[in-house]
Point group: C2
Chain length 346, copies 2
DNA sequence: CTGAAAGCGCTTACAG
DNA sequence: CTGAAAGCGCTTACAG
């Protein structure tokens, strides 16, 4: 029934005694209209429960009110947290979100993005890592002139606006906490080598040690790839060292959870014999025992900001933007839980 | 550039020497066209890299090629697994997915669904549990006459086509496995009372005991709500019983993971002193130690089937469908892992 | 089996 | 500040 009676601009125009054009102007908030007629139109629209027809709008040449989200990130919890934030912001702004999981094949990925642009005609695009660092995708997007925002990108920082947090600083701080708690033999499991954040977190870790005059032998640093499985292997390696570490800083929570599991299965108590800290604060961090001390990454906030940036139109014509305004850094929090004991408080 | 040169139906028509109408017929696969002209049109379309303009299509009164997915399910991994399957199927069928997290307030939820229908003009809708059991939403949807498919619904089974698995049978079988392994004192943590699957799993559990002539005192059954936290509390209660259970069947994996954590923190070894089994096979099931024996629910397959049902048009006019064809049941698997030992093999 | 006409609901450009 | 005209790219319904 709602569908059958749906009001059109023409109805609103007749109802308020002005032309369709004036109604259109009022509703899209464009051009000058006198306050009086504006009120007239607005109340008529409300009375008729007018909702614009997006298809007609789009066809006539304006915005589609669709935004696209493309990802190939394997972490389900990362993606869903992001999705939640993005959806919330879209709703607030009157936009809808078209989601696409691109797969890992570069060719297919570019195809599905151009599909999204041509067929869905999105007004803007959000690229999640590690997809957002693919030069070919960036190039294709620039050519299409569709505005896009990248999340935690690692390269081509002048190519588009982007949102990130200070991974380096967070890693520095969480490592320093471990040091302040008396740990000097701290192991590190590096994240996916294809993601820039892995390097930043590793660097923050190293610098925290250095600034505390700790010399760590290289065998205490092991390469992982952000998966639970890689965390298992890496931890086994660390704990088999002649002098095993008393603490492990894993590059993300999945690997930290694995570190805890592996320690348990080797009869090593966490946190008594081994402190473990992670990164991200995904749901898993509070679904294992003991719960994981970690860095809370503001994933949902990143999503909301990304939508707002796209909607604002500030980056509509990227060639007119100064790359100085591209960088948006959000704050993090360190959350202390049971997987690392706080000796100083005991 | 792709956007600038985009071919229209008119171009394809001129290129192949037929009318626009014929091109339209060929491309939408509707009406009779001679094989010869069909080939002509098809090759012209390909040559020109023609892609239909969805907005124009929609405006002219045909399908929107958008499908909607609405959820309020709190389990991030459930939703993302579903999303993955849905996205894959959409891509295969040339559709796009508009996702909406509805929130828990019924009023807002109905609003956002009607928004989705009116503004986005989706051709069909998928409802995830527990949202899919809200009578008011079902009523609103029926009135709008938009086809919709529900996932694991609990009531109004004649209201729409739906997809589910045999939760009862799966619970029966996984419980019987525990019994066959020598457990007679098996505790159960019931899931969210608002979800039908909780009751079905509970019922399967009870009947497995009964069919094995086991009388279980009622205190071995505790109410949870599918969250990790509720699993913690429920397990504490079960393990404090004068004679604690030797096994726990949790209504889902989140609660099973909590059962393992709680047992650990009470110095009770899993699976030696306590076997734990869950339900769903979400990522968490393999991210804790020991990994959880569980029922693998075919979430992604459910999503794919839902999309296919919507696209097929079989349920386009629901008033013409026989409710006998509504029910679609998918198979499950029981996956044995380390959280429950297999005594018979030792 | 094929085509000419009209129209979907909106916005762009052009006038005043 | 306001409006009449034309058109976006497609499909529906009507002819033949």
């Amino acid at each position: 029934m709602a569908l059958a009676k749906r009001a059109r601009i023409k109805d609103v125009a007749e109802h308020s005694g002005v032309s369709m054009m004036t109604v259109s102007r009022v509703l899209s908030n464009v051009g000058k209209v006198s306050d009086k007629t504006r009120q007239l139109v607005l109340s008529a629209a409300q009375q008729l429960n007018y909702r614009p027809n997006v298809a007609a709008r789009r066809l006539a040449g304006s915005k589609s009110f669709f935004l696209g989200l493309v990802y190939n990130n394997p972490s389900a919890s990362y993606v869903s947290q992001f999705l939640l934030g993005a959806l919330k912001a879209c709703r607030a702004q009157g936009y809808h979100l078209v989601v696409d999981e691109s797969g890992d094949e570069l060719e297919k990925c570019i195809n599905s993005i151009s599909e999204l642009i041509e067929v869905t005609q999105v007004d803007g695009l959000i690229l999640l890592p590690p997809l957002c660092d693919e030069p070919k995708i960036i190039a294709a997007l620039q050519e299409s002139s569709v505005p896009f925002v990248r999340i935690s990108p690692d390269n081509n920082l002048n190519a588009s606006p982007y949102i990130c947090m200070d991974d380096y600083q967070a890693a520095f701080e969480i490592t320093e906490r471990l040091i302040n708690q008396g740990h000097s033999l701290v192991g590190h499991i590096i994240g996916d080598p294809n993601q820039g954040v892995s390097r930043l977190r590793y660097q923050g870790f190293l610098d925290a040690l250095r600034s505390n005059q700790i010399n760590l032998p290289p065998e205490y640093i092991v390469q992982g790839n952000f998966t639970y499985k890689s965390g298992l292997t890496a931890t086994a390696q660390l704990l088999s060292l002649p002098v095993p570490p008393t603490a492990i800083f894993a590059g993300n929570d999945d690997m930290a959870a694995a570190a805890i599991s592996k320690a348990h299965s080797m009869q090593i108590d966490v946190p008594e014999k081994l402190a473990v800290v992670g990164f991200d604060d995904i749901q898993l961090a509070t679904s294992v025992w003991p719960q994981i001390t970690t860095v809370k990454q503001p994933i949902a906030e990143m999503a909301e900001l990304a939508i707002e940036m796209l909607v604002s139109g500030k980056f509509a014509d990227i060639t007119k933007c100064s790359p100085q305004n591209f960088r948006h850094v959000l704050d993090f929090n360190i959350i202390e839980r049971e997987s690392s004991s706080r000796d100083e408080n005991k």
